[in-house]
């Protein structure tokens, strides 16, 4: 460590290369730590549990164009035939598909006069009493729908009960409350009979991501969505069977968007997945460029200082002394870059948070990235430093 002072002296007198490297390391650290923080945030969102049995659910849409078709009757027959397929557990019509970025939402209130009570915006799904089980959901408080709760058709009465996500109940009635409370929406009202803790809406990336209500209404429309619950092992096989089966039963319709719920989720998060891949590519690119910068500058310094290294060896420096000299010199430059980059990362993180929807940058993310930079720097300088250490002391007497 006695070499620190002369190394610093030498660096301050010949600083252009070192300054460029410090800047490169600082910029890399600032960008990489923020990029990795965004990647971690997006990855966490993608990997959040939705509450659904994503691997066991198929969704599809039916557009019935044959005006002579008795749609409610045909749907009953469809469901009966679907349930007869090997691997199918349940099937039912739904007003929208979870996680699909498509569906309806309502403003809910604790008071008939919306502006007088607490309110919450929430997605909703209308379906019969099979919906909770078919989606693989677990009711944490209260009960599931009974057949007697179900209203048939849109023109019927509004259902008197509903099941809500924990996020909706908490927002309207406070944390842990909500069961058996009455919720108002426009001219309609229903009592909360069940609460589900883990539940994502049709728009999991939005502010309504955790807000969803189920209303026991069974519909039979010309444009109708369905879900089919299967065993995960048989799902791929069932997906292939759905369209031929339904068209065999009635040719006067089109079957669309047959896909697994995990595919719907992947489509919803496609933008995040793309961003993660791009950011990782940028991070890898930046890290490689910086490592090459360190490698190149050290190589250049060694070539430039070959005679100086030979002289140091002639004056008594061991190979290990020369090796450590270059490691230490690189460590000092990298450490300065890391300190400046660390401050830059926090400033950049705050700016990004102010302008875009990104999470606050954790100090630990900066520290981890800084450690990675130091490790990368060590790897980059190792080989050139070894080369320097192997320069013969006889170079000192050569005329070069």
């Amino acid at each position: 460590m006695s070499e620190i002072k002369p190394i610093l002296s030498a660096l301050t007198r010949s600083k252009t290369g070192a300054i460029l490297l410090v800047m490169q390391i600082a910029i890399t650290l600032a960008l990489v730590s923020n990029a990795m923080s965004i990647v971690a945030d997006r990855a966490e969102k993608i990997n959040q549990t939705t509450g659904y049995d994503e691997q066991g659910i198929i969704s599809y849409t039916l557009l019935t164009y044959d005006k002579d078709t008795d749609i409610p009757k045909q749907f009953k027959e469809d469901i009966r035939q679907l349930k007869a397929l090997d691997g199918v557990i349940d099937a039912l019509a739904v007003s929208s598909i979870p996680l699909s970025r498509s569906g309806g939402s309502r403003t809910l209130s604790t008071d008939p006069e919306e502006h007088s009570g607490k309110t919450a915006d929430s997605g909703y799904i209308r379906a019969n009493h099979h919906v909770i089980g078919a989606l693989g959901l677990t009711i944490n408080e209260g009960r599931d729908f009974a057949q007697s709760d179900v209203i048939y058709g849109r023109d019927g009465d509004y259902p008197s009960v509903g099941i809500v996500s924990r996020a909706v109940a908490d927002k309207l009635f406070g944390k842990g409350n909500g069961l058996n409370e009455t919720v108002y929406s426009g001219d309609d009202a229903f009592k909360i009979i069940g609460i589900i803790d883990t539940l994502k809406s049709q728009w999991p990336r939005s502010k309504m991501g955790n807000s969803l209500i189920f209303l026991p209404i069974e519909e039979a429309l010309t444009y109708q969505k369905f879900i089919v619950k299967t065993t995960p092992q048989k799902r791929a096989q069932v997906i292939k069977q759905i369209e031929p089966l339904l068209l065999d039963l009635d040719r006067g319709r089109v079957v669309m968007n047959i896909k697994g719920l995990d595919t719907s989720k992947a489509d919803t998060y496609a933008g995040d997945t793309l961003m993660i891949r791009m950011l990782i590519a940028i991070v890898v690119f930046l890290v490689i460029i910086t490592a090459l910068g360190i490698f190149g500058l050290t190589h250049f310094n060694i070539s430039k200082r070959t005679k100086q290294i030979g002289t140091r060896r002639a004056l008594g420096a061991r190979k290990s002394t020369i090796f450590k000299y270059f490691l230490l010199e690189n460590l000092l430059v990298t450490a300065l870059g890391v300190v400046i980059g660390g401050v830059g990362a926090l400033v950049l993180g705050r700016e990004l948070m102010g302008h875009y929807s990104v999470p606050p940058l954790e100090t630990s993310a900066v520290l981890i990235t800084a450690m990675m930079m130091l490790l990368m720097s060590f790897i980059a300088v190792y080989s050139p430093a070894r080369r320097a250490a192997n320069i013969s002391p006889s170079v000192a007497t050569r005329s070069i």
């Binding site: 030498a10 002639a314 008594g316 006889s394 000192a396 007497t397 005329s399």
Partner: protein, 240 residues
């Protein structure tokens, strides 16, 4: 101080073998000041490199201050160089990014000498070469003669048993060359053993003893005067 017995040095590349030194014998006693001369390619630099432990030899025995150099590993050679030998190079070999003080203390740092002692020795050596008060200057701010005096100060700082000087006046004008030579003579009078490699016959004549190297071997000075022209080292193609 220095005993070389039948030293041989063979450089080998893929294409040729070059015998730079052969059956090289030399004894230098403590307190001597010797000039080593010889034509280009005669093996002077190779002798200097081997004498200064800058490169290994191929055969023979070399004893430096009672130590059998051939038995040392790289670290031991580095330590012995640092403790026993002071180098003065033709091109001064000062480190341009370090000031005079930092340049002179380089070998002392390698020896692990404490800061206060380093400071004392550096200041003393700068005083000795007449550059006290310029410790914070950079080498490029000095003339060639001054830079060589700094290099001498660096060589002296470690209080070596002997100095190896490689064309110490080769890059200097005649006035500065005389000043540097005078400084070396003073050091020798103070007890330092000096071996100086030089092309300059006039400079060589100022030393009490001259040796000449011809074709990688020691030749008597008087004998050398009878040699006409320059003989190159023997180069033998591989496999012959």
């Amino acid at each position: 101080m220095l005993q070389m017995q039948d030293i041989g040095k063979l450089y080998q590349t893929e294409m040729v073998q070059t015998q730079a030194l052969r059956e090289f014998n030399l004894t230098v006693n403590e307190g001597e000041f010797i000039a080593v001369t010889g034509p280009s390619g005669s093996g002077k630099t190779t002798f200097l490199n081997i004498a200064g432990l800058l490169e290994p030899f191929s055969s023979g025995q070399y004893m430096l201050d009672g130590v059998d150099v051939g038995k040392l590993n790289d670290n031991q050679r580095s330590d012995l160089r640092n403790q026993k030998i002071g180098f003065i190079f033709q091109g001064f070999n000062l480190i341009p990014d370090l000031n005079l003080f930092e340049n002179i203390e380089v070998p002392l740092r390698y020896r692990g000498i404490k800061t206060a002692e380093r400071k004392r020795r550096v200041e003393q050596c700068l005083e000795q070469v007449g550059l006290a008060g310029r410790a914070r200057h950079l080498p490029q701010q000095l003339s060639g003669g001054q830079q060589q005096r700094v290099a001498i100060a660096r060589a002296l700082a470690g209080e070596p048993r002997f100095l190896l000087a490689d064309e110490p006046t080769g890059n200097l004008d005649s006035l500065m060359a005389k000043q540097v030579m005078t400084l070396l003579e003073e050091l020798n009078r103070a007890g330092t053993t000096i071996v100086m490699v030089t092309h300059d016959q006039e400079l060589a004549r100022r030393t009490p003893r001259n040796i000449q190297i011809v074709d990688g071997q020691v030749a008597d000075f008087t004998l050398y005067q009878g040699v006409q022209g320059t003989r190159e080292n023997t180069q033998v193609p591989l496999g012959v």
